[in-house]
């Protein structure tokens, strides 16, 4: 019984998805090709949440900051008009460097707020968004001069909302093409995601991975046996931030357009919800949870507005339903997990 319990949540969402697909009255092919896009766009974010959970820090809502690092890198690339594979790799390099720096800062802050990591990481996410807006809405044109005037607003201060990155969208075209639903897609992004997943798997088996799990299991004991717990927690956050920045680059590559001020906004919530849908808890999460979660959660995401339109003649209802799902899943997970935590203490 105990063993099957953790499959309850994914099963529940599987049933919901099936009802949604039927209710929406869409073809399986449509769902598949949409799902491919969403898997490519969101897969790495969900994986990025795994390591902080292992370290006992809960869900790292500050993965938003990694996404912002990716935006910054892409803006620099666009400003200097370096496109193609070279630009893509350079973007990854810049965003990784930025993420390492930012990850260290976030880790430092979260170490100061032990026991309140999740709410603190939410506020960090908000604050980082604001500072980012300040930089690109006001900083550009006043302090920083853009080389590429196309990305600037006509008033001369601040960047435009969108930057066209269609060049990157073509990057994987024609490589390892497979047929997904109604469209031809490249397998390359999927391979990248699998490689990232393997990387996380490797890290969890390395020395630092063992320490991360030890710190997550019991921070006091880990400290007592001589592990530098603060350092381990900081490294966990750095890894998470770096992965998130890579995730955001994949996301934007797939869309081919960067919405400077909005693209990062809900990724933390949706990724967290997806992971939890996959059967993860706040203390325990693995790669399987991540993959199952992404597929189930995004299936629902695709079909619920359509189902709302179809069943209630109201597309908005489906939309409300899915945002309720995202937040509701998280609340539900909190209630289940944290109660368990307080019970096991007795």
């Amino acid at each position: 019984m105990e063993k099957y319990k953790r499959y309850l949540v994914p099963l529940f969402f599987l049933v919901l998805s099936i009802i949604g697909i039927i209710g929406a009255g869409v073809s399986m092919n449509f769902v598949l090709s949409e799902l491919y896009a969403r898997f490519v766009r969101n897969g790495i974010f969900v994986i990025a949440l795994l390591i902080p959970i292992m370290a006992g820090m809960g869900i790292n809502f500050a993965i938003k900051v990694g996404a912002l690092a990716a935006h910054t890198a892409l803006i620099i690339i666009a400003d200097n008009q370096i496109y193609g594979l070279k630009g893509f790799l350079l973007a990854i390099l810049i965003s990784t460097v930025l993420s390492v720096i930012l990850g260290n800062i976030i880790g430092y802050i979260l170490n100061k707020a032990k026991g309140k990591e999740m709410i603190t990481s939410i506020v960090i996410g908000f604050l980082a968004t604001n500072l980012y807006q300040l930089l690109f809405m006001v900083g550009y044109g006043t302090i920083i001069k853009a080389k590429n005037s196309e990305i600037m607003l006509s008033r001369g201060i601040g960047l435009r909302n969108n930057i066209d990155l269609a060049e990157f969208k073509k990057l994987f075209d024609g490589i390892l093409t497979i047929r997904v639903g109604d469209t031809n897609e490249s397998l390359a992004p999927v391979i990248i995601i699998v490689v990232v997943a393997l990387l996380v798997y490797y890290i969890s088996g390395s020395r630092i991975g063992h320490h991360i799990k030890a710190v997550g299991g019991n921070i006091n004991t880990s400290q007592a046996v001589g592990i530098d717990t603060n350092r381990v927690r900081r490294i966990a956050i750095v890894i998470s931030t770096v992965l998130a920045s890579l995730g955001q680059i994949m996301y934007i590559q797939n869309i081919g357009m960067l919405n400077i001020y909005t693209d990062h906004l809900n990724i933390d919530i949706f990724s967290a919800a997806a992971l939890l849908v996959g059967g993860a808890t706040l203390k325990n999460a693995n790669i399987r949870n991540a993959f199952i979660g992404v597929l189930l959660f995004h299936t629902l995401f695709i079909v619920s507005p359509l189902a709302g339109q179809n069943l209630f003649k109201h597309a908005a209802l489906g939309e409300y339903f899915r945002s309720f799902l995202a937040y509701g899943t998280i609340v539900f997970a909190f209630i289940m997990n944290l109660r368990y935590e307080s019970e096991s203490k007795l």
Binding site: Y202, I203, G205, S206, R207, I208, G209, H210, H211, K213, A214, G216, G217, N218, T221, S222, A224, V225, G226, I227, I235, L346
Partner: protein, 527 residues
């Protein structure tokens, strides 16, 4: 045999109290050395210093000399203790439940895959799980345990956990001194025997062992020498041929000249509160079949070693521990955990953890004194008809506080001073003042004199007696200070392993008490 560890003049002070006072101690190479002593005798502080526990550093460090392997050292933190070759097995398990046995044994000393270490550095090198497992098996086999090291620790039984913890220590290559703090407390007889014999094997491998236990038979059986601590000092030390259990027990508790404060009272066996066959869950323990009657008008003492359940009665009633069963107050059935009803009926509790549970440290004295009465009675309500929404009579509250400060001689600036700023003794007086203000029928007091200077101790004991006689309050005092209980109590309950082990008269002999506390039957002592 030369000595591996030599300690001279070790002293540790917590605020004004000496936890250790000029302790000399010697551990010879390859011996098992037993440490015994009552609670608060300084054994734990001694081990904490040797293992570099952070609490020592945070409270001002220690003074004295520690020589390990002929080298004079200062142990500043845990990792330097580990480097010096000291290993410690804690009373509460320092294991990580989510990891498997091998990972726990090899924690922070993992075997790494050499190739990946070279390329990726130490942190990101792959852990060689197979070699970890082999090492773990080896360490466990020294202890005589045959178990699969890939099992997760939280599934294991307590006794196996204890062995895993020891295995972690003996796996250390440079282990010189192994310290065990009550390793058999959570084991049954059979496992205790297994553990003791494996300790002998560890000793044969060349490590020296410091062994703490309250089970004297074990200590006598396994140790080469025994040192007895009392009140932060070493009182005596015996080697194998001079072991004598009753004598050791006496050394532990000490002969105290007891001047009885109480006057003979005529206590009719009128039951005020009775526990009949109740069940209590506390910590990770569960005890069934506990019974106790408390008579009206008496002062009942409850004593025992820490963790043996001196506090289960008040905490069980107040929902701190889970209690169920037949509890009657004045013959009327009450439900343990229904805290509002219980306090309204006139049972009041002053907890042993005074600062954590007994006071509002950041509130002024007056609030601490009148709080419970405001909550329980209508005494301080301006318009009682408003019930809870009535404003409070500030003048009456202040006046009452002033009276209390004067009556109990609480030393403070004024009634508005924060309780945090008062000394321990005055804080306890504030607690008592609050209890008296509620005019309870039955008062539970936990460790009334803990952390309090000598002069205030007397005052507080006097106060308890006065409250008992003048205000006719039945009092239950739980305390590890046997001497004090003997002075004020009419009967003394000895708790052992969560149960009422024996009820003694205050004028029973010290030996009877010391043996009862250690769980030995009275019949034995009378032989």
């Amino acid at each position: 045999m030369d000595s591996i560890l030599k300690v001279t003049g070790l002293t540790k002070k917590y605020e004004d109290n000496y936890a250790l006072n000029k302790v000399d101690f010697e551990l010879k190479r390859g011996e098992i050395h037993g440490l015994v002593g009552a609670n608060g005798s300084g054994k734990s502080t001694f081990l904490n210093i040797l293992f570099g526990n952070s609490i020592i550093r945070e409270t001002g460090g220690y003074s004295g000399e520690i020589i390990i392997d002929k080298e004079n050292t200062y142990i500043k933190d845990t990792s330097s203790a580990v480097e010096l070759g000291i290993g410690m097995v804690h009373q509460e398990f320092a294991l990580i439940g989510d990891l498997n046995i091998a990972s726990n044994i090899k924690i922070n000393r993992e075997n790494l895959n050499k190739k990946t270490e070279k390329i990726l550095g130490k942190d990101f090198a792959r852990v060689d799980v197979k070699r970890n497992k082999e090492d773990s098996e080896k360490a466990l086999s020294i202890l005589g345990i045959d178990i699969d090291p890939s099992l997760k620790v939280f599934n294991l039984s307590t006794n196996i956990k204890q062995f895993v913890e020891i295995a972690r220590e003996i796996d250390k290559v440079n282990l010189k001194i192994l310290m065990l703090d009550e390793p058999t407390a959570s084991l049954n007889e059979e496992d205790s025997k297994l553990l003791l014999s494996s300790l002998k094997r560890i000793k044969e491998q060349g490590s020296s062992i410091i062994f703490i236990s309250h089970r004297l038979e074990e200590v006598v059986e396994i140790c080469d020498r025994i040192t007895i601590f009392r009140d932060g000092e070493v009182v005596s030390s015996y080697s194998k041929e001079a072991f004598d259990i009753p004598k050791i027990a006496m050394d532990m508790t000490g002969k105290k000249v007891v001047k009885t404060l109480r006057k003979e009272k005529d206590i009719k066996e009128n039951i005020l509160l009775s526990f009949k066959d109740v069940e209590v869950n506390y910590g990770q323990r569960n005890t069934k079949g506990i019974s106790l009657d408390i008579y009206e008008g008496e002062i009942l003492g409850i004593t025992g070693l820490a963790g043996h359940g001196q506090d289960i009665f008040p905490y069980g009633l107040m929902d701190v521990y889970e209690m169920s069963g037949d509890v009657r107050f004045n013959g009327e059935k009450i439900v343990p955990g229904d805290i509002e009803d219980i306090t309204k009926k006139g049972i009041y509790i002053l907890p042993d953890e005074r600062k954590e549970m007994g006071l509002l440290l950041d509130s002024p004295i007056w609030k601490n004194i009148v709080f419970s009465s405001c909550h329980l009675s209508t005494e301080f309500l301006k318009i009682p008809w408003f019930k809870s929404f009535s404003p409070l009579k500030s003048n009456a509250m202040y006046e009452h506080t002033d009276n209390m400060i004067e009556d109990l001689n609480i030393k403070c600036r004024d009634k508005y001073q924060l309780v945090r700023e008062l000394s321990g003794g005055n804080q306890q007086k504030v607690c008592l003042a609050r209890a008296i203000t509620t005019k309870p029928k039955l008062l539970f007091v936990g460790e009334p004199t803990r952390g309090i200077d000598l002069y205030s101790k007397e005052l507080i004991l006097d106060m308890l007696l006065e409250t008992n006689i003048q205000d006719k309050v039945t009092i239950v005092v739980s305390s590890g200070e046997l001497g004090e209980l003997k002075r004020i109590c009419d009967r003394i309950v000895v708790m052992y392993e969560g149960k009422v082990f024996d009820i003694l008269k205050p004028d029973d002999s010290d030996q009877a008490f010391s043996l009862a506390i250690l769980g030995a039957r009275r019949v034995d002592s009378e032989k």
